[in-house]
């Protein structure tokens, strides 16, 4: 759509505006130019999220802990699902960490363009900033919940898999790429079709069942493992359990399938978003 050329820093930069054709170039230079805005948007979202609430930041603890308690009652006490020798609360909470990050990112990210309608229709900035910032804003909740996990592991005397811990950021990155990829698709579609708002609660619920959060991936029979790993979040959750608790098989073909799907969603989402970006202000 537009490009900024900046030969001499003291010269005002020149912007060429012309209709873009086909898949627009990603224009990362523009994104770089506005990098501080990403920081400010994340900072604002974090700051505003728990304003005028009684519990404030405690909500970041209450939500995953309550879910964990419900899961423990249903799947451990009632259904007695196998947990590969790990106490169920620690087993499920390990999965709830990346899952919580993913769900928040997906929901906030998908609604981000419509939620910032007045910005989109009034001023220029790289629209990619909106879903990106929404996804990263969930990181603070993630870090708080991570502290709770450490406390839980201490209480239940579960030793972390020290030698595997270094892989954790990689799985976190996979969760973020997946969430951002889906959010790019859905936020751009949401601009024209608000059906996305209706589909999101259903989608997240369905996705939760398709991901080994409440149960162990080992309950899926061997021949379905590859199909199961088409859900990138299965790879993320299995990876978290492996890196933190040392359970499961570790990286195998199913993880690489998850990674490939995740990257595919992300790259295609990026191009779809860029190709729709030019009409956002007109159709939103």
């Amino acid at each position: 759509m537009t490009q900024i050329s900046k030969s001499n820093p003291h010269e005002p930069h020149t912007v060429y505006i012309k209709p873009s054709k086909g898949l627009a170039a990603l224009n990362l230079r523009d994104l770089l130019h506005y990098r501080e805005l990403i920081f400010f948007m994340v900072w604002r979202d974090v700051k505003v999220k728990y304003k005028q609430t009684l519990l404030g930041m405690a909500w970041a603890v209450v939500q995953p802990v309550m879910t964990m308690l419900v899961f423990t009652f249903l799947f451990d006490r009632v259904a007695k699902l196998p947990t590969e020798g790990i106490p169920y609360p620690v087993f499920s909470f390990t999965a709830l960490l990346p899952w919580g990050l993913f769900v928040t990112a997906l929901n906030q990210g998908s609604r981000s363009l419509v939620a910032h309608q007045n910005m989109v229709t009034k001023i220029y900035f790289p629209r990619l900033i909106l879903p990106t910032a929404s996804v990263f804003a969930g990181m603070v909740d993630f870090l708080i919940a991570f502290v709770i996990l450490v406390i839980l592991m201490f209480i239940y005397q579960v030793a972390p898999a020290w030698h595997l811990l270094w892989t954790l950021p990689l799985f976190l990155l996979l969760a973020i790429i997946t969430a951002l990829g889906v959010a790019l698709w859905l936020s751009a579609i949401n601009v024209q079709y608000r059906d996305v708002n209706q589909a999101l609660p259903f989608l997240t619920q369905f996705w939760l069942f398709a991901t080994p959060v409440a149960y162990s991936a080992s309950v899926i029979s061997e021949k379905w493992q590859i199909v199961y790993s088409l859900n990138p979040m299965a790879g993320v959750v299995n990876g978290f359990r492996w890196a933190l608790l040392g359970v499961g098989n570790g990286p195998d073909i199913t993880l690489w399938v998850s990674v490939a799907i995740s990257v595919l969603i992300f790259i295609s989402g990026l191009f779809y978003f860029r190709s729709m970006e030019k009409t956002f202000a007109d159709t939103i």
Binding site: P12, S20, E36, Y124, Y193
Partner: protein, 429 residues
């Protein structure tokens, strides 16, 4: 001189009617077919092959517009509602992409009146300054450097650490404006048509714009206020139905704009595409100037009463609606403003106006206006709630002063009014 803005064959096409046809069902069969095909349509739309049948109606909001603007010049843009003024500014500020043509812009484009975008009510004044500055494209260091200046200008220093949701609307606007005003873009675009705030605030905006122009920066100024155009710009372009029809020194352009296009003499009819969607449920139909015999005329006699008739439709009831006239001179100075519910009796009787077809008719008394050409603007609003419709240049008419007081002397009289005053001459000594 270097060129700040170079616009070449710019065009912008909008799809219209897509939403209309989508929701216009005639038969249950259509509904079922439409529902069944919805996933297919969604899939098609997602891969960019939108259904041709669905959006056949296109309209060119801007077509083949070309002009160059040198650095440091102030250019006025005039045109009716829907002429493409705002679309042009939106393309220049990169909010929307053109359909055809190219624009080369040298420097940062800032918009003075899209203020407060991205303000969050829960954040404090201080936090919003940083947030808003970043959205407008300022670097953090730049905001740091100008922070004190922004706070001083906004006059809200006492409340700078209070969430802006506790601000009065005036404080909120002042703060928002202060940030936008300190952006110091190389090119400033000002859309006064979209301006919010009270007269005092608007005056401040225009003042700031004048300063910016003095500093040798490039300004594009859209306004319906011809006196502001004449005062602040040296040159202006006239847009009509998306096309640039004239570029000339401001006085010439304003004269051309005011005297052209007033479709028929003494009458203005609004076509459907001239009425913004945002004016619903109010739809203006026509404005007429009639002489005492009831004939629509372009020139009225100052010695006879004149009737101004505004015809409009309401598609749903409006509470507190007032429909009014602004009469101003060709130079843009207001002569008077009057609303149809000014009198207490009508104010009470038309507290809520039901849906329907209306005419609001005002009689201008004899011996009111002086010789010359006057512009009538119309406005429909609910005070303090919403402005439904406004057209500051709905039509223009001439006043002929034959037989008016003082015409025995062949000299022009200054001032826009020519009242027949009740003079008495007494010899007291």
């Amino acid at each position: 001189m270097t060129t700040a803005i170079s616009v070449h064959n710019l065009g912008k096409q909008y799809k219209i009617g897509a939403a209309e046809t989508k929701f216009r069902y005639n038969m249950l069969r259509d509904v079922i077919v439409d529902t069944v095909s919805a996933p297919v349509r969604l899939a098609k739309a997602m891969i960019g092959k939108s259904d041709r049948r669905m959006n056949q109606n296109y309209v060119w909001a801007l077509k083949d517009v070309s002009f160059d603007l040198e650095e440091g010049k102030v250019l006025g843009i005039v045109g009716r509602n829907g002429a493409g003024k705002s679309t042009l500014l939106k393309i220049l500020s990169r909010v929307t992409e053109p359909t055809t043509g190219t624009v080369t812009v040298r420097g940062r484009v800032g918009s003075l009146l899209e203020v407060g975008t991205g303000f969050h009510p829960e954040l404090t004044g201080r936090e919003n300054i940083y947030m808003n500055g970043a959205i407008l494209g300022m670097k953090r260091a730049e905001i740091d450097a100008k922070f004190d200046e922004i706070v001083d200008f906004s006059e809200v220093s006492q409340f700078i650490d209070t969430p802006v949701k506790r601000y009065s609307s005036g404080m909120y606007l002042r703060l928002a404006f202060a940030v936008a005003a300190h952006l110091e873009p190389e090119i400033l675009v000002v859309d006064e048509v979209l301006a919010v705030g009270d007269a005092e605030f608007q005056k401040k905006c225009l003042g700031k714009m004048g300063d910016v122009a003095q500093q040798g920066r490039t300004v594009l100024f859209v306004s319906h206020n011809m006196s502001a155009i004449l005062r602040l710009t040296q040159e202006a372009i006239v847009l009509n139905k998306g096309q640039l029809i004239m570029r000339a020194p401001s006085q010439e352009a304003v004269d051309f704009y005011l005297s052209s296009g007033q479709s028929q003499a003494g009458e203005r009819v609004w076509e459907a595409d001239e009425v913004p969607a945002a004016s619903a449920p109010f739809t203006p139909i026509s404005l007429k100037v009639k002489e005492i015999s009831g004939k629509v005329v372009d020139t009225v006699r100052s010695t006879e009463p004149v009737t101004v008739e505004f015809e409009y439709k309401l598609s749903s009831p409006i509470t507190g609606l007032r429909v009014g006239l602004y009469v101003s001179t060709m130079r843009g100075e207001y002569v008077f403003t009057s609303f149809d519910t000014d009198t207490p009796a009508l104010y009470e009787k038309f507290d809520t106006r039901d849906a329907g077809h209306y005419v609001s008719r005002a009689e201008l008394p004899a011996d009111l206006l002086n010789e010359g050409r006057y512009v009538v603007g119309v406005n429909a609003s609910s005070f303090g709630v919403r402005r439904y419709f406004m057209d500051e240049n709905a039509l223009a008419f001439n006043v002929d002063i034959s037989g008016a007081p003082g015409t025995q002397w062949a000299e022009p009289r200054v001032g826009p009014v020519r009242p027949r005053l009740n003079w008495k001459i007494e010899r007291i000594g």
